[in-house]
Subunit: 252 residues, 2 copies
DNA sequence: CGTCCTCTTGACGGCTTTCAATAAAAGTGG
DNA sequence: CCACTTTTATTGAAAGCCGTCAAGAGGACG
């Protein structure tokens, strides 16, 4: 079995969205129809570079990837960890130029989606268009939470928040996942995600271990005391309750 | 004249969106029809509190407001400054509970929009639904830029970026605005937006003044050297070029 | 089996915060 | 319009969190 998740149903995206909303078969087919042929990337591969011309987005079928921006001084800010079922590179819907780089953190499989083909979705399936809008709002809230994390919490809290957010998102697609999971980020990558240096990430990870909140073996992470970790992190799990009640009815 | 912008056309939202896309009269009417009667708030008024039940969003007709979250230790992270023409509280499209507090920074006028009424927009005007989605993606990019600012740049750069982002957004609705504008944030609010303390904001503002990049008089800010300020800030102006070409045609 | 990457640890330095005190400005009520 | 209070801006000194630099160990990979 693939450690980092993989396609189970006809489309990974349909499976993910099925957790938020009961899709009709026509809707599922509509989503599936806009996905192009799957592409495979090896760990470390650059999928898209900031400032590249970008006319397509991607659905993550398996594996993890990172989106990031580079600053003038060479430092890197990781914007988000992308897991199976995620859509990545959505910003091409607003800009012709890629606003972020995408790199494969593990071996990944992606399905490309032409941004031009999104318009069919909005025209033929208004409910799906509204769902995409709803998901975009949820992603904005997630970014806002990270903004508060970087702006107003300590180094230890930021690392703890990254761990908790990752496990919460993994559980959306894998309900059986409890406290232990593969976590393939280097400490430098954790630092680039949390606005810290690799050295200080190391110290904070060891502190969390010494306090009995987490355990590490190789790239495997185990959460030992999730409640206390959430307190340390100031973490709010938002993935539980999306409100889809206001969406229009599916097209018949 | 209102210093902080105000309604000029029939709807402030329609005017704003008209800068991105040429709306048909039916589309403009559709937007206008979902707006409820205008509400007025005094400076400092709390419009919505985090965790309140939230079923409506707002269009800013005039004035400025802030969205923010409070952390357990009482510290505050300002998520965004909201200017005339902005939609605020959109996260209610994804959550029934408000994810952020909204407070009036100046006297403001808002038009409420029931989130349930958005569904008509998606059904009857797919292009408008797609436009809302597009704007949400642009807002995600803006949040990502701020994430990089807080995570990877110095205090001085963060303050400079806030100033530049504000003036760039003001210019969207007010093309004549050049270098001087009213900036009603206290140094504490600037700090809460940039993840700094008020004391350090003060030092950074003075440094920017001493370096001849900005000037201050009362709440009026003047940018003296925008290019150098942008270098200091590591700032990218994204508000210039949104790609609306992929949107479906307007409904006839 | 050598090279490169990653993790780890210590010492030191700096950016930012904290604490404190004062001045200036704004708001309030008589 | 003037006292009075509260908020905001300013400045200095000291402390602390995190970054930088450096060096060594362990592991992955070819």
């Amino acid at each position: 079995m693939d450690l980092f998740g993989g396609r189970v149903s006809e489309s990974c995206l349909v499976e993910r969205l099925g957790h938020y909303l009961r899709l009709t078969s026509r809707e599922a087919a509509a989503f599936a129809s806009i996905e192009g042929p799957e592409r495979v990337y090896r760990r470390g591969a650059m999928i898209r570079r900031e400032h590249d011309r970008a006319q397509e987005l991607y659905v993550v079928n398996s594996g993890w990837l990172l989106s990031f921006v580079l600053l003038d001084d060479g430092s890197r800010q990781i914007l988000r960890l992308h897991l199976p079922g995620d859509m990545v590179g959505l910003s091409c819907a607003a800009f012709n130029e890629a606003t972020e780089s995408l790199v494969a953190l593990t071996d990944v499989k992606l399905s490309p989606v032409e941004k031009a083909s999104l318009n069919r979705l909005f025209v033929e399936h208004p409910r799906l268009g509204a769902l995409l809008f709803l998901i975009a709002q949820a992603e904005k809230v997630s970014l806002s939470d990270r903004l508060a994390s970087l702006g107003r919490t300590s180094a230890k809290a930021r690392v703890a928040a990254l761990i908790l957010d990752t496990v919460a998102r993994l559980r959306v697609m894998n309900a059986e996942l409890r406290d232990s999971f593969a976590f393939p980020l280097t400490q430098e990558e954790i630092g680039d995600a949390t606005g810290l240096t690799a050295v200080h990430v190391n110290r904070m990870m060891r502190a969390l271990v010494e306090e009995g909140l987490i355990a590490r073996q190789a790239n495997q992470l185990t959460i030992l005391n999730e409640d206390r970790l959430a307190e340390v992190a100031n973490y709010i799990n938002r993935y539980a309750a999306l409100d889809t009640d206001w969406l229009p009815p599916p097209t018949t």
